[in-house]
C-alpha cells in the first residue's frame, strides 16, 4: 500500500425532489487497498460508488485525486446485474471498453484473453450471455471491468444475486485476481461476512441520508483462507461490524 488514490471530502448528494441520499461523507482509499461500503438498502452506498466513478455528481463536497482524475479504462465498474449486451459473446462484451477507445480486436486480443482466463472463462469466450449461468455472467462482467487493467475497481453488490456457494467462490477468485493485478477495490455490499472477508477496511454507513458511521480495519491475515470464515477472529470482527451497523441504524 502506497499513497492515497483518492479522497472523498464531505460528499453529499441531494436529488431535485429534496431527498438526500448522502450527507457529509468523507473517506479515502490507499493504492492497492480493498474497502467495503456496508449499509442497509437505500443508504446511498451505490450513489457514493457512482459519484466516485464519475457516473453521478456530488451536490456537495468533492472527490480529490492526487494523481489526477482517472481516464477511460482507469476505472472498472461491476454492477449488481451482469449488465452484458445479450447479443454479444463474452469476448465481444469484454472487448467493449477497448472498442470505445478505438482499439482494434487484434490489439485487444491478448488483454481480452487474459481477462477471460483470469475469471476462468477461457472455454466460454464465444458463448452468448444467454447460454451462461448467472455466476458465469458475473465473471464476464468482472473480466470486462478488469480487461483494461484499471487502477480502481468499483463493485456495486456484484454477487448479491448469486447463491452462497457461487458467491464464496467468486470472493476467493476476486482476492486472487486482486493480488495478481494489485488494483484497488471499492466494494459495496450488505453482507457483513462478505465485507469482512474481502476487505482491509469496512466502512459502515448509516441509513439515508447515508454517512460513514464507522471505519473498521479487519486486521485478518492475508491471503484469506476459505476456512477463515468459521474462525473465532473472523466471528469477532463480524460481531464488531454488526454492532456498528446496528448502532448506525439506531443513530
Amino acid at each position: 500500500m502506497t499513497g492515497p488514490l483518492f479522497r472523498a471530502v464531505a460528499v453529499g448528494r441531494a436529488f431535485p425532489d429534496g431527498t438526500r441520499a448522502l450527507q457529509d461523507t468523507s473517506f479515502g482509499m490507499a493504492d492497492g487497498e480493498i474497502v467495503s461500503l456496508l449499509g442497509p438498502s437505500g443508504c446511498g452506498k451505490s450513489t457514493l460508488l457512482r459519484i466516485v466513478a464519475g457516473l453521478d455528481d456530488a451536490t456537495e463536497g468533492r472527490i480529490d485525486w492526487p494523481d489526477g482524475g482517472p481516464g477511460s479504462g482507469d476505472t472498472g465498474f461491476v454492477f449488481q446485474d451482469p449488465t452484458l449486451m445479450p447479443w454479444a459473446s463474452a469476448r465481444e462484451n469484454v472487448y467493449l471498453p477497448f472498442r470505445i477507445r478505438g482499439v482494434s480486436r487484434d490489439d485487444a486480443r491478448i488483454a481480452i484473453d487474459d481477462a477471460l482466463s483470469l475469471v476462468g472463462l477461457d472455454d466460454f469466450a464465444d458463448h452468448l450471455p444467454g447460454r451462461l449461468s448467472g455466476g458465469m455472467r458475473m465473471r464476464v462482467s468482472v473480466a470486462r471491468a478488469l480487461a483494461t487493467r484499471p487502477k480502481l475497481l468499483l463493485m456495486d453488490e456484484p454477487f448479491a444475486a448469486l447463491d452462497e456457494i457461487t458467491r464464496h467462490r467468486l470472493n476467493d477468485d476476486l482476492l486472487r485476481i486482486q493480488s495478481e493485478r494489485r488494483c484497488t477495490i471499492l466494494f459495496v455490499t450488505h453482507s457483513v461476512s462478505e465485507s469482512v472477508y474481502l476487505s482491509h477496511r469496512v466502512c459502515v454507513m448509516t441509513e439515508r441520508p447515508g454517512r460513514i458511521a464507522a471505519d473498521i480495519p479487519t486486521g485478518l491475515p492475508w491471503p484469506r483462507q476459505p476456512d477463515m470464515r468459521t474462525s473465532a477472529e473472523f466471528a469477532a470482527i463480524c460481531r464488531r461490524v454488526s454492532a456498528a451497523l446496528t448502532g448506525a441504524a439506531a443513530a
Partner: protein
C-alpha cells in the same frame, strides 16, 4: 397434439368443415352465385382467371413491398434522427402523428391528384405503414439498460458509439415487431389507394379487380381476388415473422 408435426391438423379440419358447410348451405338454399358463390365455384373461377388475378397481384405486391421497404427505412431513420434530441423529437413527432391519424381514404384523392401512377399509390401505402416502425423503433432506442448506458459513459463513449453499439441493437426487436404490423398495413394502404385511384388498363392491381368485379356482378371473381389478397397478407406476415426469428436467433435474442 400441440406438437409441431401434428399441430396443423385441428385448424385444417375446422377450415375444411367451414368450407363444406358453406358449400352445403349455398346448395341447399340455392343461393345465386352473384350473392354468395360456393367455395367450389370460387376455386373454379380462380383457376380460370388465374393469369389475370396473378398479374394483378404482382402489381399490388410491387406497390406494397416498395411502400414497406420505404416504411422500414424511413421509420427507422426518422426514429434515429428524433433520438438525437428532444428538440427534434418534439418538432417532428406531431407530423408523424398527423400522418398516422388522418384517414388515408380522405387524403388519397389529393395525393393521386398530385403524383402520377405508382408513386401516388406507394406514398399512400407508405403513410399508413411507416408509423408502427417509427414508434416501435423509438421505444426500442430508449429501451437500453441504464446501467449499460452508464458503462458506455464510464468508458467515455461518444454519442454515435452509444447509438450504434447499444441503442441500435436494443431497438432491433422493437423494429422487427413494428415491421410485422407495417407489413399488413402497407398492403391495406396499397389496396385503399388502388380503390381511390381506380386506374383501368392492363397493369391494375387486385383492389381494382375487386372493384371491377363488383360493378360487373362477377362475384365469384371478386371472392377469388379477395382470397388471393388475404393469402398475400398472410404470406407477408409469415415471411417477416420468419425473417425476424432468424435474425433474432442470430443475435441471441428472443423474438417479440
Amino acid at each position: 397434439m400441440t406438437d409441431s408435426r401434428t399441430g396443423w391438423i385441428p385448424p385444417t379440419v375446422i377450415f375444411a368443415g367451414i368450407l363444406a358447410g358453406w358449400e352445403m348451405l349455398v346448395r341447399i338454399f340455392e343461393v345465386p352465385p352473384y350473392v354468395l358463390p360456393g367455395p367450389l365455384l370460387i376455386g373454379e373461377t380462380f383457376g380460370k382467371d388465374s393469369a389475370l388475378l396473378f398479374s394483378s397481384l404482382a402489381v399490388t405486391l410491387r406497390i406494397t413491398l416498395t411502400a414497406l421497404f420505404f416504411a422500414a427505412l424511413g421509420g427507422a431513420l426518422l426514429a434515429f434522427v428524433m433520438s438525437w434530441s428532444r428538440w427534434l423529437e418534439r418538432s417532428l413527432m406531431p407530423y408523424a402523428i398527423v400522418a398516422q391519424v388522418t384517414p388515408i381514404v380522405a387524403v388519397a384523392p389529393l395525393i393521386i391528384l398530385w403524383l402520377d401512377g405508382d408513386a401516388a399509390l406507394v406514398l399512400c401505402a407508405w403513410i399508413v405503414a411507416f408509423f408502427p416502425v417509427l414508434a416501435n423503433t423509438m421505444a426500442g432506442l430508449k429501451s437500453a439498460d441504464p446501467n449499460l448506458n452508464a458503462l458506455f459513459r464510464l468508458y467515455g463513449a461518444k454519442r454515435w458509439q452509444v447509438q450504434a453499439w447499444l441503442e441500435a441493437p436494443c431497438a432491433l426487436p422493437y423494429f422487427l415487431a413494428g415491421l410485422k404490423i407495417s407489413g399488413g398495413l402497407s398492403l391495406i394502404g396499397a389496396v385503399v389507394a388502388e380503390f381511390v385511384a381506380g386506374t383501368g388498363g392492363a397493369a391494375t392491381g387486385l383492389a381494382y379487380r375487386i372493384l371491377e368485379a363488383g360493378y360487373r356482378l362477377q362475384i365469384p371473381r371478386l371472392f377469388a381476388a379477395l382470397v388471393l389478397l388475404s393469402a398475400a397478407g398472410i404470406a407477408i406476415h409469415a415471411v417477416i415473422g420468419w425473417a425476424s426469428r432468424r435474425l433474432m436467433a442470430r443475435f441471441g435474442m428472443e423474438a417479440p
